[in-house]
């Protein structure tokens, strides 16, 4: 495992951002009546990213006078993009601009490219310039640009939430004031994959001669090399003790941020973990209390 940042890391991503800048977003917004309620209007957005790829996002705007703080959910590991994440209370939409991105390959942004699950993680993995996540990372940055272009958004309170892609977005894009991330797939990805059922392990088993090429690609996606670029106030959620992604395991990443992030160790309870995150965001955004699901209230 290479613990050094690749020499071409900055150039690789600058090329991506330069290329992205060549494509105007050309946003189309269409109201979605069935997802609109008394407290918020839902829109479906279509806009352009790298390679003229048209993306999709759900955008929910609270009723009333803004600007409003914003939550930006980047894609996770599944194909489905929900208007707000499964389990989040819909009442959130009365307080926040909610933005949920379908990057290329994900449902609602699956033409012309429909990603396979499993399959996406290794699509093009032997060539950094062809790796699907190069475009997906660019899509996430484009999503942040589109969100921040909305006049309803309070630019002083914009949180990006998710896994590695959230971290990439906060590092590569401009304007995220807060970041809540759970490092996962791309952290020391090659080491983490060995001996597991991961897609990367499958790829290496079938293509044993490709390890150097795979390592070369994945090195450009390791969260450790993105962290120094991040200025957003950050909460990192780690795995519970004993895993590859626990606090000790992530210490090289945690130490790489410009400012030490807040760190929360998962208690393997989406109730307890969720409560912590909601409280963290609420506190940072100056609210008296978070908006919680019915079954999380006392």
């Amino acid at each position: 495992m290479n613990d050094e940042r690749p020499a071409g890391f900055e150039a690789y991503w600058q090329d991506v951002l330069d290329e992205l800048a060549l494509y105007s977003a050309r946003v189309e917004a269409e109201a979605i009546p069935i997802r609109t309620n008394d407290s918020a209007t839902m829109y479906g957005l279509r806009f352009t990213s790298l390679g003229s790829y048209r993306l999709f996002a759900y955008l929910s705007i609270p009723v009333g006078d803004g600007p409003f703080p914003a939550i930006y959910w980047v894609p996770g590991s599944g194909s489905v993009i929900s208007p707000i994440p499964q389990g989040s209370p819909s009442q959130l939409r009365s307080r926040f601009v909610a933005f949920s991105l379908a990057a290329r390959g994900f449902r609602n942004a699956d033409k012309p490219y429909a990603a396979a699950f499993p399959g996406l993680l290794t699509d093009g993995i032997e060539d950094p310039s062809a790796y699907r996540f190069r475009g997906i990372a660019a899509d996430c940055v484009r999503g942040l640009e589109v969100l921040l272009s909305r006049p309803e958004v309070d630019a002083g309170r914009v949180v990006v939430q998710g896994g590695d892609l959230a971290l990439f977005t906060a590092a590569l894009g401009e304007g995220a004031t807060h970041l809540v991330c759970t490092p996962s797939t791309f952290y020391k990805a090659l080491d983490a994959a060995k001996g597991t059922d991961s897609e990367i392990a499958d790829h290496l088993r079938l293509n044993p001669g490709s390890e150097a090429a795979v390592a070369g690609t994945l090195a450009n996606f390791d969260p450790r090399w993105f962290a120094p670029r991040i200025t957003a106030r950050t909460l990192v959620q780690t795995a519970p003790p004993g895993g590859f992604l626990d606090r000790d395991g992530l210490s090289p990443l945690l130490g790489a941020f410009q400012a030490p992030p807040d760190v929360y160790e998962s208690q393997q309870s989406n109730y307890k973990d969720g409560m912590f995150v909601e409280q963290w965001v609420s506190d940072r955004f100056g609210f008296d209390a978070p908006i919680l699901p019915e079954h999380w209230r006392g």
């Binding site: 009546p33 069935i34 997802r35 309620n37 599944g78 194909s79 489905v80 993009i81 929900s82 208007p83 707000i84 994440p85 499964q86 389990g87 989040s88 209370p89 819909s90 009442q91 449902r107 609602n108 429909a114 396979a116 699950f117 499993p118 059922d197 392990a201 499958d202 790829h203 088993r205 079938l206 393997q268 309870s269 989406n270 109730y271 307890k272 969720g274 699901p293 019915e294 079954h295 999380w296 209230r297 006392g298």
Partner: protein, 307 residues
Amino acid sequence: MRPSPEGYVTKVRKPADFDEFWDGVLAQAAGVPLNPETSYSDLRSDEGVEVYETFYDSIDDVRIAGWFCVPRGSDGKLPAILTLPGYQGEPGIPKEWARKGYAAFSVAPRGKLRSNSQFNPGYPGLLTHNITDRNTYSYRGFYVDAWRGIDYLLTRDEVDAGRIGVTGGSQGGGLTVTTSAMRREVRAAIAGAPYLCGYVDSIELTHAYPYEEINDYLRLHPDSRDQVVETLAYFDGINFAGKITCPFVIYIGLQDQVCPPETGYALFDAVASVDKKLYTADGHGHNAGKHNIDKELDAFFERHLKA
């Protein structure tokens, strides 16, 4: 202070012609040949597990995908596990079950990737697709797709037809309920944080997706409420539960914000099995504290499928 979920009284009512309706669906399904197709996956197989990509036919001319796994080098008949997927996630490859000595099959009902070329209502969308008509409601075919996973297992030489278990979490938990109810071949089942049980309760108890899809629908179509409630009664796991007779385990989180724990209790009360157990996890949401009882759940299947 929230009232105890244990004391909740469900609003689910069973239609008088519930059995007649499903008998008709089963009769339709019986007329559709399975046409199973199984191909070895070099990419997903490893030194311990053989992985096969599978397809079979279901009602309404929909082709259903799945993943079938067996321990490499096994001989003789194996106990089998059918794993059923959650609402949003794609069905995983059940290699862990194969490593535990089972033939394992993971089904992707209609609308999931690889099973969505003929039917693709989207997410959100699946839960309310044709929700005013029980004869065309999305879950009519979706349930059958899952049940036919049992038929697929029965085509495999590796599988001991007398030792089949079913399990899943969330929507997979709900499908575990309906599959156990409708397929006598199921000898033991584990349902985690079951979804699709207590629909009409859940849309009042929680305002989170996926159930929120129904509230969205009713907001736009308030005049359809009676028809929606009528349809959902035919698909509610609580109404299937009286048909379950195999050993059955349910586990729920008492802070589940997706599938309200009240519905888990109501489901447990309705399960007809003599051998049934409910695990409740205080301090846990939709993951229902499963990691704390994994050993007990493994032992349950071993007791009923490997003994």
